[in-house]
């Protein structure tokens, strides 16, 4: 390696480290300040270590209620968006039909629209239709704009998958739905789980669209944004940390399950010793990393 190459790699490394630090520092401080023995209305200056906020994260009943609503909305949204999005992703990658390109473009649109426009449009429609805004209007809004993310994520997984395996299943007599549940779904499962985590995370964190369609319903982001003026309790940091840890645990679990399944698949393929040295079927185990 030449000296100039080495210098370039060093510069790149330092630059990247600075960028990662820039990403990481606010996250680190959120966690750190959840242990801050805060006295004032704002949790902005370090005043000493305490575990008090972790003992009673739901001390404020309004905050607890807002968090409960957010989790409930995210749960319903995730189930609906994953269901609808996965079906659409399968249709877009496994079938050829007229208007396919248009359908693919169409489903991207909510992703390409500023959230404030999505929120204002929905409110305009709900007002005209005479629908009271609240829990279910938030859910409708969230499903609509997370479904695009599900389609993109699941589709990427499907595109990296061999379609002949599904055809083989059908040739062997499996029906369309049997093939889907016994062959396609297990193979795209890591992508589906990744999409679910993404959809839940987007739903829990959304402020803009929700603020237009929430009516009297409070969610976690609405509560904490509204608290800017009165003061932000340190429990917000605790809940923020809990959400982060929850998402990271789910992602880690997804990876671990994938690895275990891949190992099992390899074992199944390699096991029969009577086989000739070149197996007729190549290892079909999903070897890709995260979705």
């Amino acid at each position: 390696m030449r000296a100039s190459d080495r210098a370039r790699n060093w510069a790149l490394g330092i630059w990247s480290a600075a960028a990662l630090l820039f990403l990481f520092i606010p996250v680190f401080l959120i966690v750190l300040f959840s242990f801050n023995d805060n006295k004032g209305r704002f949790n902005f200056t370090w005043q000493g270590f305490t575990l008090d906020h972790w003992k009673e994260p739901f001390r404020d009943p309004d905050l607890a209620k807002a968090m409960e609503n957010s989790l409930l909305i995210a749960a319903v949204t995730t189930v609906a968006a994953v269901l609808l999005g996965t079906l659409l992703a399968v249709a877009l990658t496994r079938y050829r039909f007229r208007g396919q390109g248009a359908a693919g473009f169409f489903v991207f649109l909510p992703m390409a629209t500023p959230e404030v426009v999505l929120g204002a449009s929905l409110l305009a429609m709900f007002l005209v239709a005479g629908i009271d805004t609240g829990f279910w209007t938030i859910v409708i809004a969230h499903v609509m704009f997370t479904v695009s993310y599900v389609v993109v994520t699941v589709r990427a997984r499907l595109e990296g998958m061999d379609p002949y395996i599904e055809e083989a299943a059908q040739d062997l007599g499996a029906g369309v739905w049997t093939t889907f549940f016994k062959v396609t779904l297990p193979m795209i499962a890591p992508g589906v789980v990744a999409a679910a985590v993404l959809a839940a995370a987007i739903s829990i964190d959304d402020y803009v669209v929700t603020s237009f369609n929430a009516g009297q319903t409070q969610t976690f982001p609405l509560y904490i944004f509204g608290a800017t003026r009165q003061g932000v309790p340190p429990e917000v940091n605790v809940l923020g940390t809990m959400l982060l840890v929850g998402v990271l645990l789910l992602m880690g679990l997804n990876l671990a399950v994938q690895k275990a399944l891949a190992r099992r698949d390899r074992a199944v393929v390699e096991e029969p010793p009577s086989q000739p040295p070149t197996p007729a079927v190549p290892a079909a185990g999903p070897s890709a990393v995260a979705g």
């Binding site: 990662l20 949790n43 902005f44 079906l87 399968v90 959230e115 426009v117 305009a124 695009s148």
Partner: protein, 275 residues
């Protein structure tokens, strides 16, 4: 070929939802910008004729462009490093990126306040190591907005960049060098053109996401940093001025869609055509 009906069954619910909860409401919004009294183009004339409103529109576009540039500048080397490291290091880097993505944006905004405020963490650290002269207040002004929004945008830049870079065939760089190209030439004439779809995707996502976003500007900015999104929300939610609100929202939608369609034609369609 399988029968049409089955495909439609798979498509209908999701596309129906997008039609019902996105296309129809957007049409409603657009219609309302023309029908709210006094009607016609009057609200657009008001918007384009008002220098204070146009200042806010220009400021939003400029801020989004700046955030996009900062995100590219900081995200590019990180994505490159992740794409050219061992799987273990790559996982660690992408883990940090993902972790920052999954923390509440509003809570992150408060965290930046604690860091950048006059008596914040950054100034305390600078004071402790004897660099008082470098102490600055970086919140309640444009700097705070750009810092906070860039931290929000960088993961959206890194992920598509990494996706393209990790599939790049590094032998092309060696081939270019063997043919006598300098590193700089190889970078600009071989590497950048081939990862352009990733750059395009990252820039499009960051630009559109920050163009109408107003939560971080409202936490980290000053009185002179109101963005178009906040203006729209304020007009519709608080003052009930649906005419100007919907006209502004339609302008914002048009700009975002133009940007998106340009990107879609330029990169995604090309990829679909080849597969």
């Amino acid at each position: 070929m399988r029968p049409m009906l089955r495909v439609e069954k798979l498509l209908l619910p999701a596309l129906g939802l997008v039609a019902l909860a996105f296309v129809y409401p957007a049409a409603e919004l657009l219609g309302r910008s023309f029908t709210e009294p006094p009607g016609g183009f009057s609200h657009y004339q008001d918007v384009f004729g008002s220098s204070s409103l146009m200042t806010i529109v220009g400021r939003s576009a400029l801020t989004a462009a700046l955030v996009m540039a900062v995100s590219l500048l900081l995200g590019f080397p990180v994505a490159w490093l992740a794409a050219n490291s061992s799987p273990r290091v790559a996982k660690l880097i992408l883990g940090v990126v993902a972790a920052s993505l999954f923390v509440s944006v509003i809570v992150r905004g408060y965290s930046w306040l604690a860091i950048l405020d006059r008596n914040g963490v950054l100034n305390t650290v600078l004071g402790a190591i004897g660099l008082e002269s470098m102490q600055r207040t970086l919140v309640h002004n444009r700097a705070g907005v750009v810092i906070g929004m860039s931290q929000y945008g960088i993961p959206f830049m890194i992920l598509p960049l990494y996706d393209v870079m990790s599939r790049f065939d590094n032998r092309l760089l060696a081939a270019s060098a063997n043919l006598g190209a300098r590193q700089w030439t190889t970078f600009w004439r071989v590497y950048v053109p081939l990862i352009l779809p990733g750059i395009g995707a990252g820039c499009t996502i960051v630009f559109i996401a920050t163009l109408g976003y107003y939560v971080l500007p409202s936490i980290l900015g000053g009185p002179g940093d109101v963005m178009i999104g906040e203006l729209i929300a304020d007009k519709i939610q608080t003052t009930g001025d649906w005419g100007q609100g919907t006209a502004l929202a339609s302008v914002l939608l048009a700009v975002a869609l133009l940007f998106f369609v340009a990107f879609y034609r330029f990169s995604l369609r090309g990829r679909e055509g080849s597969s």
